[in-house]
Symmetry: C2
Subunit: 350 residues, 2 copies
Amino acid sequence: MADPSKPARSEDNGPPAKRGKPTLRTIAEITGLAVTTVSRALAEAPQISADTRKRVREVAIEIGYSPDRAAQRLKTGRTNVIAVLLDPHEEILGYGTSIMSGIAKALQGTSYHLIVMPNFLNSTNVEAVNYITRNSMADGLIFSRTEPLDPRVMLLSEIGFPFVTHGRTELSTPHAYVDYDNFTFSYQATRRLIAKGRRKPALISGPADFTFAGHLQHGFMTAVREAGCAYEILSGIDLDSPAGDIRDRVRQRYGEPDPPDSFMCGGEVCALATITGMSDCGLTLGNEYDIVAKQTSHLLGAIQPQVETIYEDLTATGEDMGRVLLQRIGGETDVGKLQLLLSPQIPANW
Amino acid sequence: MADPSKPARSEDNGPPAKRGKPTLRTIAEITGLAVTTVSRALAEAPQISADTRKRVREVAIEIGYSPDRAAQRLKTGRTNVIAVLLDPHEEILGYGTSIMSGIAKALQGTSYHLIVMPNFLNSTNVEAVNYITRNSMADGLIFSRTEPLDPRVMLLSEIGFPFVTHGRTELSTPHAYVDYDNFTFSYQATRRLIAKGRRKPALISGPADFTFAGHLQHGFMTAVREAGCAYEILSGIDLDSPAGDIRDRVRQRYGEPDPPDSFMCGGEVCALATITGMSDCGLTLGNEYDIVAKQTSHLLGAIQPQVETIYEDLTATGEDMGRVLLQRIGGETDVGKLQLLLSPQIPANW
DNA sequence: TGGCCAATTTAAAACGTTATAAATTCAGCA
DNA sequence: TGCTGAATTTATAACGTTTTAAATTGGCCA
């Protein structure tokens, strides 16, 4: 059967070390150790003597070894990848970029890489989540635009796949999240309008689907009820609406009776659109009306400093999400450590 | 249809099919073919009979098979990954998100995934490029903020690693790029200002490092020279400057002799900052001065419609870059097909 | 019927890593 | 000296895929 003399079989000690990238075997050949030992040594396994570990480490650095991720992944089943669901929206200035920079910062120095799954592929991005988990494309998942009964959260919780949401749900099963305290933001911002003497604030809230819209509304309502003043939640538009629509709606509203005298805007684009709409009606900011807005850039401060703003640092948020996810992947189960509610920084002069 | 699920013990045909994800072997066991054959069949190899191919394909779909990327990558050396260098800048509205959405769109339906390498740490992101190529993290690379003698381009060209830049270089070795024709944009925009009767346009250009800054400047200069009018290139600021700095600089300039009477702005944030600065001096847009700007969102149209704008579609740009990169990876060497210069859409009423 | 070539299918090896189990060394002690 | 057990190191076998080379089938013709 088997011919003893096989063709092209190299005589010496296995195949010649490939000219390409160094592998564990390269190190093994240099040090005279077995591949297994080298692998263990680099993993700092206690069963390998300190001497050997040191020598292996040195050689590895010297020849510029870095492990093949594909092989590791194949063997261990772990991908060393974090996936983030990207929404192609840009109504919140710099949202995607900031979040991703932040996550990447948290991942820096770890073996994790960041992959982007844009979710326009799938109308409901449950499909994207399914795709990622089924094909084990990542070890963890990050996404935003969280809904109170978010189907993605239910799915991932059920199968025990690590994830962190930007925003909370109202589900009973706890899960990792990082959220901005939009209730407090909205409450304080609305109080500020009232403190300035305004008697009928209007809220331009987030799309009703998302949990944070409810928080904004709750904070707003709490403030107006406390003050016992009139209020309005502007219908027909939300923070996702194109700036032109917001402008039109604001202008239109002023043609009707009992218009609001101030606005609580969830984002800077919304604030700018509102200002323009009011300006169309001949009204000046700080004079006939006021605006308080959340900003995620520093644009308003430079362009419309009359708008009172609270800054939300999305890069820091991303970094938090990355950190939390790593903890979760690392096996942390104490939800106390996996749930972060970031406090708005209320300006000192309010 | 599905037979009753197999009992916990398997017969004598090798190890029990793992309960987990289906692999080639699962299909092999079901069809009675060899793993090799299944692999070939799924690759639509002509040496496999059409009958077999069809049967294998059907079974694959039925059991929801999808190939293990780690194994493919390990074996073939191809990663099926495209990397994009992300700049944490957001002076250009929605830049990162739009570009990435576009790339992802181009990658849709292919086996490629998109990974993000943020380059905030490495001042020159040559290091990031090195990291990606040395560790074969991707099959192709996309980046922007291209410089005339871009070291990344030189490096990648030298080692023959597929890449596409957003923007051109002035290197003699040709390479794949997608660029917006900033010369034409700038030329036409400046002509527009002059056609409106302005006699001293000012340019706020990109950071001098980047190639496109030169193109903007060249277009601007061509127009003012043709018209024989005065001009100014605003010093001390550029499109990367914070909005506040631009505002301050514009205001300051108006305190000095011979101020410009119009502006050519490369982005909408710059335009807004300029308007604010002029407003500080009591000047009104469309009255004492005019602005033409490039916009990458639809913000200006809603907020400051008096600004004349040319729209640059960054999502489409990303999609082009993705497509071009796939061609390049596919072996296309005809640079004619790998170099795209996108024409500005000049408004009809200019 | 046998032979030969083409058409299919297959077995075995390999990619680089880690997990499992086994082997080797070596000191301590009776 | 010989035994024991701890401390190290090692061989072997995977992970799921593709590649290389070989084997099997079948058709056709002499």
